[in-house]
């Protein structure tokens, strides 16, 4: 009888809502990590898997990450197949039903995003495409707000006692985004309609936000290294459109962008695509601020 009571108590504890303890959040990227931290404050503990200066497509599914996920109440990820190369293995290794698909802690942030570049008929001949849409959406501040609201709702659902804190933190975060964007008005005006070249298709939402005009890519197709003929065509394209800046992420090799820059007189601008990708960019707001200011300077 005693044993039955104990088993019942254990089962009840497994399914019980969290109370005074902190929510344990794991995010796939540093950007989601920072937003989760801002919304959750000291009511959560948060870890991230990919580093900011790492290509989030190619993360090693290390067992130590599985351990983090095994204890998580929430796993928030970018979605749209950005993490498809490593997330299934980690979720399988973590054996945590809370964060499995459909679990209470399964948070696909892309579901609150108006996704760009959905290509339902895409196939692999088009490179490493994301048929369900471009996943680099956090580089638009409006999407940062959407992610924060999603976290607010999810954290409130799992920790009702903290709902007012999550609401207040989210409202404050949204206001700070608005003031950051307002302060960037001169830079945004300088960027608008300016032709630039990007290494990868990571800057599509940033383009939407800033109004810059991406006239070409160093990669001929997503994930495919450039050929000589592609670079020759890109050089002609840059000369024709007077593109002065090549934007690239810190984890790509500079050799090809430098080659193109030498032949066009353009600058190579290494922009952090994520929080903590470069020194001094330690928060989501700093990321947006840094990228806009650096791009505006480069285009001057």
């Amino acid at each position: 009888m005693n044993r039955l009571v104990l088993i019942g108590a254990a089962v009840a504890a497994l399914g019980a809502p969290l109370s005074a303890q902190q929510l344990r959040i794991v995010t796939s990227t540093t950007d989601l990590h920072d937003i989760a931290h801002v919304v959750g404050g000291n009511r959560i503990t948060a870890n991230h898997i990919a580093a900011g200066y790492q290509d989030p497509h190619f993360v090693e599914a290390k067992p130590s990450f599985a351990l983090q996920l095994a204890k998580a109440d929430v796993f928030a990820y970018v979605g749209l197949d950005l993490e498809v190369g490593w997330m299934p293995s980690l979720l399988d290794a973590a054996r945590n039903r809370r964060i499995n698909r459909g679990g209470s802690g399964d948070v696909d942030a892309s579901r609150v995003i108006p996704v760009l570049d959905v290509q339902p008929n895409a196939d692999r001949s088009m490179g490493d495409v994301h048929p369900r849409g471009n996943p680099h959406y956090w580089l638009h501040p409006e999407n940062g707000k959407r992610i924060a609201r999603l976290f607010r709702d999810k954290f409130s659902e799992l920790d009702a006692a903290g709902a007012s804190t999550y609401r207040a933190n989210t409202a404050r975060f949204e206001a700070r985004i608005d003031s950051t964007v307002r302060a960037l008005a001169p830079q945004l005006a300088a960027i608008r309609d300016q032709p630039v070249v990007a290494y990868h298709t990571s800057w599509r939402y940033f383009q939407d936000f800033t109004g810059m005009n991406i006239v070409g890519f160093v990669e001929p197709k997503p994930g495919v290294p450039p050929s000589a003929s592609h670079l020759a065509g890109l050089i002609q394209q840059m000369k024709r459109t007077k593109a002065k800046v090549i934007i690239m992420e810190p984890f790509y090799d500079r050799k090809m962008p430098d080659f193109v820059a030498r032949n066009t007189g353009a600058k190579v601008l290494v922009l952090p695509p994520s929080v903590e990708a470069v020194k001094g960019v330690d928060s989501y707001l700093e990321l947006i601020d840094y990228d806009v200011r650096r791009l505006a300077e480069a285009l001057r």
Binding site: K62, P63, G85, N100, R101, F251
Partner: protein, 454 residues
Amino acid sequence: MRTGFLSGVLIALAGTAATAQQPDTTARRDSTARADSIARADSIRLVRELERIRGEARPPHVMGGMIPAQPQQPSNPGLNPSISVVGDIVVDASPDGSTLESARRFDMREVELALGANVDPYFRGDFILGLSDEEGIAIEEGYLTTTSLPWQLQLRVGRFHLPFGKQNTTHRAELHTIEYPYTIQRLLGDHGGKGTGLALSKIFSPFGFYQELQLTAIERFPEAHGHEHEDEHVEEHGFEGVPAEPPNRTLEGLGYTARFRNYWDIGEATNFELSFSAGTGRIAEPFGCEAELTPGHFDPCPGPRGETAVLARQSLVGGDVTFRWRPLQQGLYRSFIFQAEVMRQHNEDPALPAGLPPGAAYLGPIEETTGLYAFGRWQLSRRLFVGARYDWVEASTDVERDFSAISGYLQFFPSEFSKMVLGYENLRPDVGDRVNRLLLQMTIAIGPHRPHPF
């Protein structure tokens, strides 16, 4: 007693339910009949209405009086299993002829068809069929994996790559090299060791680093793919041998393995894994009597129960280390991996059945055999890798010397979904002259994005 009681309760419950469904009074019979009649009329009206709607939707012209099949409603693609196909093509340009199992120069070595999906909230199902000219269609793997057990437990049921050693858990087409290390080929099977049964694993970290214990109970150990084991007997002795009773008749005849993994992050870019494996099982090995006219050749000489094989215990222990370096920022272009495994096989020398004629001998292996390999791979650029491997397998009693091999590999990945490997191997076999192998492998994967192996 308890079963009888339960049956009684079930019968009583069934009886109660059946009684409850019966009309209990004659007075209610008329009203029930009226209600039935109304319901029937409603049903007929609904059927007619549906027929009318379908008739309007039907194409005006029906050829040959045949009714065309109704088009299927599109189902939710998310409910369909993901389907992937991996093609593995090998070209053997070795100077002294083909060294492949198929003896071909150009070999479509295998096509793997993989289907997988969540079955329900509790299980995931994965099925991998291997198609090849030699074996036709074979079930490479097929298992259910639990997705919602508590306490970081996971149960797998079906056929799977045995969690024994490091590389054995990787599919051959996904290896860094063209074939499994020779230690694995010789001690677990050419295609790696597989098992059909149960696998239970648990992850834990009482000391702050990752640890995992994997236990399996399988039909037999080792369960080499394609039953090469029997083929070897047939080739060597001319007969396979049949035991008096199958090994799986008792629990001790099944195969059991255990693997204990320990993993450390040394730094952001480097990590280290040290694991230990052990396995045991009883296998049927033949015995025979030496032929008088052809010394050295053994013929079957059945025991008292007509058996021509005895059950012998075979055990295997092993350890493996893996060191990885991959700087996060330059990880697309630079990485290094070093891996080494050692295995030792122990074979029982079983007693033969009583009453056999003089000269009867056990024909199975009795010696202990050790094998090891060490492998390293350096990434030269985003798409290009170079690797090398050294293999060594201890000599058994009936061969001239230890087996050893030195191999070099150049891997080129046009994309994540295709791979080309150029391999050169210099083999010093346990019998005969050195063998040089020059191989080119092309592997392609189509279908959904496959997780990158770690």
